[in-house]
């Protein structure tokens, strides 16, 4: 336990001291909110204000981008630089090591989502009820865990940091479009509409939006949770199988 705490502390410090990840994790999401605000002002989308409507989208965007792009790169970098090799040569087991890494990633993603929501409420007067927040948080955590797990598959497959980012970007973009948040899913080809419910991004978006927007759980809560659980578990198993201490040569 003591070892786990020391490792977690070290992983956390490395995360917050890395300027690049700090920017993408903490500054960029807020920046995105401000851009939306400046671009679209405080108009209405149907019955809700534009900010209320867009914030859940930014939160989901964070979850996807952090999971697929942010959460795996440090591991790839440590592998590339030979840090993992050194850790492998020490008697530390893989579990506390990877466990502390994942814990820190999930916590940082959570802080980031809370930060976005807090900023939206305080600065842009977003409407959020306590009940909505309480229902949204578990869904956000489910989304983070699912996408952090998927991110570890990317880092397991990618031979280098550059490749990890490229693969993560492609997944991130393609998933972003089926969340029904950038573009209405009704406007997509039929086969994409058919596939979307079985994809994790759509499920996470459907889980996160209703509590933030209306304070209620998603209508098809069970089936969306099932989809995320299948992906989270599958990704975790796959990532464990793909895990390497040294880069391939």
């Amino acid at each position: 336990m003591k070892q786990f705490l020391k490792l977690t502390k070290a992983m956390f410090l490395m995360h917050v001291r890395n300027r690049t990840t700090l920017f993408w994790n903490m500054v960029f999401p807020i920046f995105l909110l401000v851009i939306y605000r400046v671009a679209f002002g405080d108009g209405q989308v149907g019955a809700v204000s534009y900010m209320d409507w867009v914030v859940p989208g930014v939160v989901v965007f964070n979850i996807l981008a952090f999971g697929l792009l942010g959460s795996g790169t440090m591991m790839v970098e440590m592998r590339e630089k030979g840090v993992l090799r050194r850790l492998h040569a020490s008697p530390v087991a893989a579990l506390p090591l990877v466990g502390s890494y994942l814990l820190v990633n999930v916590l940082i993603a959570l802080v980031q989502c809370v930060l976005v929501l807090g900023f939206a409420v305080v600065v842009f007067g977003m409407h959020l009820t306590a009940a909505g927040v309480l229902r949204a948080l578990p869904m956000i955590i489910v989304g983070i865990v699912t996408f952090v797990a998927l991110g570890q598959v990317v880092s397991g497959v990618a031979p280098s940091t550059g490749m990890a980012i490229a693969v993560g970007q492609i997944l991130n973009f393609s998933q972003m479009f089926i969340t029904d948040m950038i573009m209405p899913i009704d406007a997509m080809p039929a086969w994409i509409q058919d596939a979307a419910p079985y994809l994790p991004a759509y499920a996470v978006a459907q889980l996160v939006r209703p509590p933030l927007l209306e304070g209620t759980f998603a209508p098809n809560l069970g089936s969306h949770l099932l989809v995320t659980a299948v992906y989270a578990l599958g990704a975790a198993l796959l990532a464990a199988g793909l895990f390497r201490w040294s880069p391939k040569r």
Binding site: Q3, K6, A10, R85, S90, S246
Partner: protein
């Protein structure tokens, strides 16, 4: 009586390497990095693995460290089979890998703390500071690892290698890429760790370093251990004469006919003459130079050394050695 003696010898041996073979890759691209290497490293010695780049030194250490699975043979640390109980074996080791990859965004003090924790050793502030002071890093405790100079980084790597107070320390090219001063500082540290009673295994491709530090040396080339003994005995076994070294362009046959000459070769731009009668050889050489209206520069006489041992054992010239 006899069995007692056998047992003592067993205990003297901290690392036993037997018939160790290691490969990388498969099929046509397979590299045989190590072939049937056997070694016994004794408690309390500084043992050197000496060989050119690509000889298999890092691979051999990787097998001892439990991070490369051998294709055949095995390694025992204090009688513990590394392959079967890697984590028990690893607990006894302090290591510094060839590529010093540190968690760059941590400070020196934080790194010491984490590396010790990997071994379930928990250092308090005072202990961490005392450790760093031994490596002259006490003023750098709050510096990020990425901000250290090359020499400081290397001293930190050594401090991290002993953070778990190991009995056995494996250092892979601890002085490569260091300037002469930083190099001597690292030598001093290695000698001190030895005086503390620890066993050290270092790899190097510097003959000078092996002679200066190591009680015993294994010469390794193309994945094979070609010799293993004290530097003095390895050199004595050559039964070689002193070597006259100079910069002079002259046909080798002409030198071979000079008095006392045993062997002549070019090593880079230097002419090296192994001779039992150096003074007469030199006189002959000078005569030849005068006849050609030239003079000889940079004359040096040296005793045979490990470089000559390597040359004799592998048939490779010094120049090839230096370049590789």
């Amino acid at each position: 009586m006899k069995s007692m003696k056998g047992k003592d010898q067993m205990e003297e041996m901290v690392i036993r390497i037997e018939g160790l073979s290691a490969v990388y890759g498969r099929g046509a691209r397979q590299v045989r990095a190590l072939q049937e290497a056997s070694l016994a490293i004794r408690r309390g010695e500084i043992f050197g693995l000496l060989g050119p780049n690509g000889a298999g030194k890092t691979t051999l250490l990787s097998c001892v460290e439990g991070i490369h699975t051998p294709a055949a043979g095995g390694v025992w640390i204090d009688g513990i089979d590394v392959r079967r109980y890697p984590r028990v074996a690893q607990r006894k080791l302090g290591i510094q890998l060839q590529q010093t990859a540190l968690l760059d965004d941590l400070t020196v003090a934080e790194l010491v703390e984490v590396y010790a924790a990997l071994y379930e050793v928990y250092l308090d502030r005072a202990a961490a500071l005392a450790l760093l002071a031994r490596f002259e890093l006490q003023d750098k405790t709050r510096s990020l690892a990425r901000r250290l100079s090359g020499g400081q980084k290397q001293r930190l790597a050594l401090a991290l290698a002993v953070a778990n107070d190991p009995e056995i320390i494996l250092l892979d090219e601890p002085t490569a890429a260091l300037d002469p001063r930083a190099r001597r500082a690292v030598w001093e540290i290695i000698r001190r760790l030895h005086q503390e009673g620890r066993t050290l295994v270092i790899t190097t491709h510097s003959m000078e370093e092996a002679e200066a530090l190591c009680g015993r040396v294994a010469i390794i080339d193309a994945g094979r251990i070609v010799a293993c003994d004290t530097p003095a005995r390895l050199i004595a076994a050559l039964d070689a004469a002193p070597v006259l070294r100079t910069q002079f362009d002259i046909p080798l046959e002409q030198v071979e006919s000079l008095p006392g000459v045993r062997m002549v070769r070019y090593s880079g731009e230097y002419l090296e003459i192994e001779t039992t009668r150096p003074q007469e050889t030199l006189a002959g050489l000078q005569q030849a130079a005068v006849q050609q209206g030239r003079s000889i520069a940079d004359i040096m006489l040296r005793q045979p050394n490990l470089e000559d041992v390597f040359l004799r054992l592998t048939g490779k010239t010094l120049a090839a050695w230096k370049e590789s």
